[in-house]
Subunit: 281 residues, 4 copies
């Protein structure tokens, strides 16, 4: 299994073309944030904004409107209960993140169904957090996962156990992970100490940066926002964009961990712009 190296950054993060506008850098939709976990969707959206996505919208519970506008005024808000607005947005973006802080109640299921039913073939769909668990637990949802879009799952080990049926203790079996991933017809980013990425083309990559200072709530939400922004805005191959995003997230954390005992998701967000500049090819 190959390791992701720092080369990936300059390969993916290019000088922006002079003649460009915000549309050039893609549209990202974050879907998540029930009233209890609004911060998760906000961190995902904020990460996408700071990582350079052209336009970012957060579809979340109505209760989170003010927190969205206060924390990240650059992002737009949509109530995910407002079906016409929500569906129109789903259809109009390049990358959708589904799951940060979404919860696992019937509202969450309905939101997932709405996303699944409206994703188109040119889009990337990142399925994260409780959305993974709900897909794992519901045959109806599993059947509804779009087959035409680029799907990425970002499970931690327990979520991967639920989705793949592989117990955590057996997840060091790369071959078995890959079989499960291929049968999902999706990219899988398995988050753990030394995360692994399983691509549809059969390649597997291992991440050797990142450390225990990142072990704190919201870290995965932030990763989804960076992934979405990198996929939306860059021209490198799908596989390279994903590797660069995952590397960026953990490498910033490593740099900050030199001076901080725990690195918070919002710390990483506020260092994205300078990190990307320093590592721009």
């Amino acid at each position: 299994m190959q390791t992701i190296t720092a080369d990936i950054l300059k390969k993916v993060i290019h000088q922006r073309p002079q003649n460009s506008f915000k549309g050039t850098f893609g549209k990202v939709l974050i879907v998540g944030g029930n009233p209890n976990m609004g911060g998760a969707a906000i961190m995902a959206g904020s990460a996408a904004v700071h990582a350079g996505a052209g336009l970012v919208t957060i579809a979340t519970a109505r209760e989170n409107l003010t927190a969205v506008h206060s924390v990240i005024p650059e992002a737009m808000f949509v109530d995910y209960h407002d079906a016409p607005q929500f569906i129109s947005l789903i259809k109009g973006v390049d990358v959708i993140v589904l799951g940060p802080g979404l919860g696992n109640d019937p509202t969450a299921e309905k939101v997932i169904q709405t996303v699944f039913a409206n994703v188109a073939s040119n889009q990337t769909l990142i399925i994260d957090g409780s959305a993974i668990t709900l897909v794992a637990q519901s045959a109806a949802l599993k059947d509804a996962v779009p087959t035409n879009a680029h799907v990425i799952y970002t499970p931690h080990q327990m979520e991967w156990q639920r989705l793949s049926g592989i117990p955590i203790s057996e997840q060091n079996n790369t071959h078995r992970n890959q079989q499960a991933q291929q049968s999902l017809n999706a990219t899988v980013i398995l988050k753990k100490h030394h995360s692994e990425i399983y691509f549809l083309n059969g390649e597997i990559r291992k991440l050797m940066v990142g450390g225990p200072a990142m072990a704190t709530g919201g870290m995965g939400d932030t990763l989804t926002g960076i992934l979405a922004a990198f996929i939306a805005q860059f021209d490198a191959s799908f596989e390279d964009r994903i590797q660069a995003a995952v590397f960026t997230h953990s490498k910033i954390a490593d740099e900050l961990a030199e001076a901080k005992y725990v690195v918070l998701p919002t710390d990483i967000i506020s260092h994205l712009q300078s990190f990307m500049k320093r590592n721009c090819g």
Copy 2:
């Protein structure tokens, strides 16, 4: 076409007179921010505050009250559905920004009508974002655009196509742009790679600063706030104040882009005060 040079800054940004008070530096009203895009109005208002406007009020949807007070406590809030308060404010300010995050639904139309019906001849009215699109699409609104006030449109290229009828591919025809602008009886700031400003006196200016790091959501909202503050507070000619504002916005972005891959609107806002000090004549 002449290029705007850094000279414009010291020509416009003067030492404040010792014996002055907040009224000396003008009153600005930002009109925008539906519940989905409250951040846009907040960024415009925050830019106006940081750029030195004496008093700034944000007329926006009721849902944005808390975000306004949290992000920029220096600004005042008005619910744009509260007609008496809203109209009284329109009549009492020096510069009105109409459009950031306003949306394009019937509420937006009604808000635009209210502004148009109450603007007076000594005021400057900056028409931005979806307000431009609505004016372009509605003959009734187009007819209602105030003829007595100083009107500035700040379209990006697609909005300019809608407003002028000139396809984007033909917008390098300066003469045709100017004809359309003159028929609007307004100043036009055409936002693109190397933005152009068309003045009523026939002058045209080109902006050579600014770059692709600015291609992100909310950047135009921020420009409107800076424009409003410069027009409200400075004594230079109308044309010079506009050029200085446009130059300031993009020059700060260029400076920040030395260290940031993407420059966010809120980054520009937080550097306005020091930039203006360094470039004060």
Copy 3:
């Protein structure tokens, strides 16, 4: 008329006694902030917290609850429509600031009446902003101004004209200002280029620091918070505490104006702690 000099700082801002607790440094109540101007009350409260008041509560409109908790979690919130809570608070604090962002509608009048009716003789009452205007315009309110408490008015020149009847053009007549002030039986801080303080003991002080970079909305709100904190926590004479507060406010602004074209109230707030440390006797 004597000028306030920097000596006042070390005379008033003393090392805190080792054996002290938050109660030692006094309780401050900010009363203001209608839904349109919640930021004013928040800035006053935040200034009081950063200037060292032991406990700060903000009595404001219900709509401002979230902005209070978000911007200054150190402060407590009370709905000024909740009479029992509000009255109990008024009775329990050392210094009350009445006016920042209060507005001038019947609610504001009622709030003022409630404060006036419940202030006790050991308290200091700072009357600011629209509360000054309302007192000036209503004989009933004027009659209700507490005669037992230490009352401080902080008018700008137009408010002083309303309160004293002295036209702005004649306010350089120190003697006449003083006569009006003495008949109010209150301290008056007349805010203008070179502010003047009229004390009950007949002394008058002039402030030669501060400048036009401070001419921006919310600057007076911030001053009230600093005044309240200094009066609540320090042991110097009443006159000296007021002078030190006024000097601190403007001197910080002067220092920041070295690098900022306009100095915002929130800028001053965030530099209070370090300024007071550097100027502690």
Copy 4:
């Protein structure tokens, strides 16, 4: 009585194990924050996040939802009136902080009863602020204090008087304090100039760091969050973790007091990560 020394830091704050995830560092629940004092619960929760707790949830009044998500998006929110969610959370965490900003009305009592009724033997329960006063005043609540959990009280002197019956003037009687503490079957952190910690094993420790710059509202709320995070995430003895948390809180304040006249709770929070890194064993 032994003094707590800086040695305690390296003894407790260890390098995190490489193979760890957020669950490794424990789950913390903050219970507090009525509508008037939402900031207290938010500061406790924010302190717990910054001090390294793996997952932090704030159970508070519904009115505080937005402030929680805005100030500390890393934390989750629960409405403490939502019994099923609240009880499920209580049962699922490692450490519970009960009291910051909770108030002393019937709602507060009910919240306390719910916590007391659902705490289990492997959990730590920190009882703070008005929760101490309510326990002191209600025989029913006192009887309901869990006997199986690790209970820590964090009274200031007036609260200790209420809880122990020992007048403040007699609280320098260590032996009497200890008798009262032992009869409570709990650890007691008596907050005062030179705070004292009374442990169940009979040990008493005195804190010689910290000073009057900390005498400001919210300081105790912040301590509870640090305590919770240290107890939840570290492996040292219960007594050592508590000492390290108390020392960290005051030592950061001392460092900041070199440059700030008053040190705010939010100042301490923002320096936790770097302090813990510098003092990591």
